[in-house]
Symmetry: C2
Amino acid sequence: MAKPRWLDERESDAWRGFVQMQTQVMSRIARETQRSTGLSAPDYEVLVNLSEAPGGRMRAFQLGAATRWEKSRLSHHLSRMADRGMVERAPCDEGARGSWVTITPAGRAAIAAAAPQHVEHVRRWFVDSLTDTQLEALAEIAEQLLATLAESPPDDPCDE
Amino acid sequence: MAKPRWLDERESDAWRGFVQMQTQVMSRIARETQRSTGLSAPDYEVLVNLSEAPGGRMRAFQLGAATRWEKSRLSHHLSRMADRGMVERAPCDEGARGSWVTITPAGRAAIAAAAPQHVEHVRRWFVDSLTDTQLEALAEIAEQLLATLAESPPDDPCDE
DNA sequence: CAAGATTGAGTAGTCAATCTTC
DNA sequence: GAAGATTGACTACTCAATCTTG
């Protein structure tokens, strides 16, 4: 390896700040959401996707694409959520190599009750601390970084 | 709960962008660092802290404060790293209710070899996609969000 | 009893193997 | 054989209980 190109102060401040912000903001919001609603962040993500889908159902691989989870993780998580009555699985009629995942009435009730809580936490720990200009700057930064990632997908496409 | 104050488009774009960016950037860098160096992100964090500490050693609770990990997580992780020869534990002499954690020569070698790789990944997926202005904006955003979090610590102080 | 730390049980996620259908 | 999905074994993290010392 050639001589390392270490980060200068500006770069290092940005990177370290990003790592800390990322870890702490996400875990605080996840924890408070779970405490006030009983839903973990993965639970919430699954239910949001299903509740917004037509008929409240999606094919498992669609859910996998939306969440970018490994298929085994998704399968395990859906099993646990099915045990808790939040979702149901059904075999796929047309060519039964796939399966449908459907949100149950209990799942709809859970996400409807959780969403207002969740948005309050997002406001408190994220949105309300930033100016409009900062929100726009952040959205653009995210767009750029995601575009860079999308240019070179990982070996395993589920790999992020 | 009063009427939910849903996010407008600007807020929602920023939040969703942040979540996606955060997940994907961190996991890509962690995965590539692990592949090219054999060190996981938690391994790397422990070794960086120890290698920068005087004498290459820290008290366990100091490491816990630096990483913001739960003490049980730290203890479990140090056990695994000790098994792999990266760190050593030693009882604390003055008042033996504590313990020292020391980086081994093998640990020093591992972090020295990994650091240049790691910085290359950080450049590729983060620093090099952003302008100086964006890096500064991001650092300031991080500072503000972290300050908001610090104002109201979680019930459990290890809780993020 | 509080501080510093470890342990064990339970839960979640990863990886590789498997199964079925196209 | 590849796509869609599940399973089991292994690893990692969390939570509560425990242990020891000040």
